[in-house]
């Protein structure tokens, strides 16, 4: 079991460019979460999928952020027209059951210049 896999580990983009972050949850886990972590805001919930269906995207900044889960083996977080304030570590987590232990990936550190 390789755990939750996130790629890339680091990404640098210029202001206004698009960034796509990938997550492969643990096989068999029905819930997938995306979080953003910064020094100032801490660990913030972004969005949640259950059995691939989007359930809650209340934490997603409007307009530029979108997340998809086209199949049970991966999810993507896309940020359009990136801004310096989007710089953060983006963490993906999966859990076997809702409300249970969440297994986190190592995160993708996004730097927007």
């Amino acid at each position: 079991n390789a755990g939750v896999i996130q790629t890339p580990r680091h990404k640098v983009t210029g202001k206004g460019q698009e960034a796509t972050l990938w997550c492969e949850p643990i096989s068999g886990h029905s819930a997938v979460f995306w979080y953003r972590q910064t020094i100032v805001q801490g660990l913030e919930f972004l969005t949640y999928f259950r059995n691939q269906a989007p359930i809650d995207d209340s934490g997603m900044p409007k307009e530029r952020f979108s997340a998809q889960m086209p199949n049970q083996s991966h999810s993507t977080l896309k940020i359009q027209s990136t801004q310096p304030q989007d710089s953060a570590v983006y963490l993906c987590a999966s859990s076997l059951v809702v409300g249970g232990e969440q297994y986190f990936g190592p995160g993708t550190r996004l730097t927007v210049l």
Partner: protein, 111 residues
């Protein structure tokens, strides 16, 4: 406002000493989780303590839960340098799925 909050913000101890991190939360919960995050890694769960439990142990770790005061503590005995990390408590509202993390306690264990 934060559903869960740890204190203190930071702690520094020497190897072998014991340390306690406290957590206060603001909602009715079914369980409270303690996570540890080492530098460059994602958080990893240490202990999940359910609302009908008062204490849970995992090796050198001991978590307590007091639902009347809506507080929890995580104690680490015989600390090691590798315990250096940020420690989070995390809660979800009863019946909810969204786990909310506190801002964390930064623990430094030095030789």
């Amino acid at each position: 406002s934060q559903l869960a909050e740890e204190n203190p913000w930071a702690l520094s101890v020497h190897e072998g000493e014991s340390v306690t991190v406290n957590c206060s939360y603001k909602t009715s919960i079914t369980a409270l989780q303690w996570y540890r995050q080492k530098s460059g890694e994602g958080p990893a769960q240490l202990i999940l303590i359910r609302s009908n439990e008062r204490e849970k142990r995992n090796g050198r770790l001991r978590a307590t839960l007091d639902t009347s005061s809506q507080s929890s503590s995580l104690s680490i005995t015989a600390t090691r340098c590798e315990d250096t990390a940020v420690y989070f408590c995390a809660t979800a509202r009863t019946g909810g799925y969204k786990v909310v993390f506190g801002s964390g306690t930064r623990l430094l264990v030095s030789p």
